[in-house]
């Protein structure tokens, strides 16, 4: 792999991460004639590729499978000439005129960088959780739901993801208990209605998980009612955690401005604190994190990169 980059090509734009933000940025950048490389550690799609059905992306009245939508986005970007490379980026040099993306001994140089590394699911952070990952604790219902045929599971969280996945899990499990720290859900009304009307979906309101118990295999969760302080045990075979996300910004810490939660500080123009460096998608400070808002960021970031390249032409 050492001589993958024998040339000293300098790309107009390097995009780090190939979720909806990165893929859209690649499409717009390549289509506007910028030489574009996108580096992704796994396969295109990011979190959206692990979502079994996306119902709120316009143009798909019957919904669209996450992996399918993402594969189409990738095709579209590649059609216009974006180069997609699979590599695990371990360093970013964002200062200076020529910026660098590094992965082991590989290196890509570019005039502009679009940060689109997204976010990853947050853990519960309670005793027993780490030990039982793979023994009943999961962060991906699409991946692991089928292992719970005829079993009881719990979902922790009250947002869209939690409720979408809880409903998905009813295909396999006999009972799905949604554990939520408040007395009402944050999820969209249509999802709430579906969950409330589903005979397999139960709710543990005002409740948090304080520990995950079991020897190698999950046996039960300890729940605490945040109003009364009362602790109860919930016997389940699986628990799926959807309590939010953390931004994937460790590589840019100390280089671009981050907010206290680690999100990249950039406005709707996606401009970060460094010239020529743009932030698109879930890792940016913003109000609504969805496939479509990530895609929108990608388009804006590519447009900003184009302007930057034109203004700084030698």
């Amino acid at each position: 792999m050492d001589d993958d980059n024998p040339t000293s090509q300098i790309y107009d734009v390097a995009i780090v991460g190939a979720g909806p933000a990165g893929l859209t940025a690649a499409l717009y950048a390549a289509r506007s004639g910028l030489s574009t490389v996108m580096i992704e550690r796994g396969v295109a799609g990011g979190q959206a590729a692990t979502t079994h059905m996306i119902e709120n992306y316009p143009g798909f009245p019957d919904g669209v499978a996450g992996p399918e939508l993402m594969a189409q986005m990738q095709q579209q970007a590649e059609k216009f000439g974006a180069e997609v490379v699979q590599a695990d980026v371990d360093a970013l040099e964002l200062g200076g005129e020529t910026k660098k993306v590094k992965s082991g001994s590989q290196e890509w140089a570019a005039r502009t960088i679009i940060l689109a590394m997204g976010a990853y699911p947050r853990k519960l952070g309670v005793p027993g959780e780490d030990d039982l990952v793979g023994g009943g604790v999961s962060y991906c219902a699409t991946c692991d739901g089928a292992f719970y045929k005829g079993k009881k599971v719990a979902v922790v969280g009250g947002g869209d993801s939690a409720i979408v996945e809880a409903l998905y899990l009813t295909r396999f499990a006999t009972e799905v208990t949604v554990i939520h720290r408040r007395a009402e859900l944050r999820a969209a009304k249509v999802l709430q209605d579906r969950a409330f009307n589903h005979e397999k979906v139960k709710f543990a309101w005002n409740s948090v998980v304080t520990s995950v118990e079991g020897e190698g295999i999950l046996d039960h969760l300890v729940l605490k009612n945040v109003k009364t302080g009362e602790e109860t045990e919930l016997k389940v075979n699986g628990v799926f955690v959807y309590v939010g996300y953390d931004p994937n910004t460790a590589l840019v810490k100390g280089q671009v401005g981050l907010d206290p939660h680690g999100y990249v500080v950039a406005g709707e123009d996606t401009k970060t604190s460094l010239p020529g460096v743009f932030a698109a998608g879930d890792l940016r400070v913003k109000g609504l994190r969805q496939v479509i808002t990530a895609a929108a960021d990608g388009a804006v970031a590519a447009e900003q990169a184009l302007r930057y390249v034109e203004e700084n032409e030698a």
Binding site: P67, G104, G134, V137, C143, D144, F147
Partner: protein, 107 residues
């Protein structure tokens, strides 16, 4: 090594448990996004470890007996078998260097 061979419920015993050298089994399924992320890493590992490690894949959807027998409840799971026993289970995606750090001590 371009493609990794698939094992099944039927040949798991001969291909994995009775193998003369350690075997890394990639438990996966077509519906699993992170499994597709792991696949290229597993291929790269197979190339790098060469003769030291045999690398195979098992589709948990089509081979539920083996998957449930080894209590696979989350995929991707990478399991290393030595002399017919599970020597290591690694769950979820991680970069290649991180995987090697976990595999090296047992190989």
């Amino acid at each position: 090594m371009a493609s990794i061979s698939q094992v099944t419920d039927l040949n798991f015993d001969s291909e994995v448990l009775k193998s003369g050298k350690p075997v890394l089994v990639d438990f996966w399924a077509p519906w699993c996004g992170p499994c597709r992320m792991v696949a290229p890493v597993v291929e790269a590992l197979a190339g790098e470890y060469g003769d030291k490690l045999k690398v195979v894949k098992l589709n948990v959807d089509e081979n539920q007996n083996t998957a449930s027998g080894y209590q696979i409840m989350s995929i991707p799971t990478l399991a290393v078998f030595k002399d017919g026993q599970v020597a290591k289970k690694i769950i979820g995606y991680m970069p290649k260097e991180e995987l090697k750090k976990r595999l090296d001590p047992i190989l």
